[in-house]
């Protein structure tokens, strides 16, 4: 124990001399009293044994070789200059080596158990969702991926969606309300004569509506059919079917 004197040497002194003893730099007389203390003090004896063993383990560790590109990286990071020695010594890496080096960090991450577990969970969840929704792998493999087929399925799907949307009762009601509202808020249309006048002055170059062009031919064309002055009133009722 520290402060305890055994065989003319205190444990604290033993502790201080331990390094020199292990380095074999103690004088003969000091070494003798050091060893004598170790023989009688079990605590110091154990400490000496463990320190010796630890030193042996440490000495068994060999020097590690730094990566080949370390000097190059250091020089690039400091002076921005490439090492002349490295430049001569290292051959140009092939594109496969470059690709492997580029992909290595990704694969290092992917090899971690945490990543693998997450990937597994995502895969499991996706397969569970797909199987519950009735998607089979065989259906997916028979999907026609030709551009024409893809285009056709796109139009079919969008047509179905539009049809479904427009047939929803709520949408239809909203649309009809909006239409009524517009009709109520817009001012009444001008009389046909005014419209004709306006069209004569129209210089926009836009063609007139086909229906009016047909009617404008009336005076020069033979009358093929005519209605009596008091035509019968026909009432029509339209029923819209809601799907």
């Amino acid at each position: 124990m520290p402060g305890e004197s055994k065989n003319g040497m205190q444990c604290a002194e033993f502790d201080a001399l331990l390094n020199d003893a292990l380095d074999h730099t103690l004088s003969a007389s000091k070494m003798e009293s050091f060893q004598a203390h170790a023989r009688v003090c079990p605590v110091c004896s154990l400490l000496k044994a463990e320190a010796e063993e630890g030193q042996r383990w440490m000495k068994s560790l060999a020097e590690v070789e730094p990566p080949a590109n370390l000097v190059h990286n250091i020089l690039a990071a400091t002076t921005g200059r490439e090492s002349a020695q490295v430049k001569l010594a290292t051959p140009k890496p092939s594109w496969i080596d470059s690709l492997t080096a580029w992909l290595r960090p990704t694969f290092t991450v992917a090899r971690q158990p945490r990543f693998v577990m997450s990937f597994g969970m995502v895969f499991f969840s996706l397969s569970a969702v797909l199987s519950l929704s009735g998607v089979k792998a065989s259906d997916v493999s028979h999907v026609d991926l030709r551009p024409a087929a893809v285009r056709r399925s796109y139009y079919e799907t969008s047509g179905k969606v539009i049809k479904y949307y427009e047939n929803i009762r709520f949408v239809y009601e909203i649309e009809s309300r909006v239409r009524d509202f517009k009709r109520a808020t817009t001012p009444a249309e001008p009389a046909p004569e005014e419209q004709n006048k306006e069209r004569k002055n129209d210089t926009s170059g836009q063609p007139e509506q086909r229906q009016e062009r047909n009617y404008s031919q009336g005076e020069n064309q033979p009358v093929l059919a005519s209605l009596p002055d008091d035509p019968p009133v026909v009432t029509m009722t339209t029923y819209r079917r809601f799907v």
Binding site: G54, V64, V71, N73
Partner: protein, 199 residues
Amino acid sequence: MEDAQVVALLVRRCIAGDAVAWEEIVQKYHRRIYNICYRFAGSGDDAQDLTQEVFIKMYRTLNTYDVERGAFMTWVTTVTRNLLVDHFRKTKQDRVTDSLDAAPSEHQDAMPLSEQIHDKSQPPDARVQSRETSETVHKALQKLSPELREAVILRDLQDLDYREIAAVLRVPEGTVKSRINRGRAELARLLTRTYRQVM
């Protein structure tokens, strides 16, 4: 010319802007710094990053080195040690979770030179056993407290004397000796426990 004089001349040339002198310094010290970083940080990737950081810091602060105040190696080791302490503080939280994801084998680059060069005289079993032993000791070293670890590394792997270690760690020589003793003893205890569990 003595080694100290050669280094002092190199440093002066570097400060004057001589890129070749800087490359000589990098070539001369990178292996030593990498080994300190590797043994302290534990992984080859971290050691590579830290070694680069050490040289970047050295490059920026080279003009602060005073030849009169000590050997260049002591200055370099001090810079390295300071960065390692910073790194240790920064990664304290990461280490708690990273121990779960530790890769089973070490970085190939960090393999000892003796194991990279195939020794024909040593049978394959012995080579594997030697590598495993080295890995075990390296892992046990990571379990030591940073104070004990750095003292043991600087003494047993870098062969610095006690005075130099005291200058690098900024503690008295007696403390250095005590830390080295405790570090070695703790390492021996850890390895004894490990091998007892295996057997």
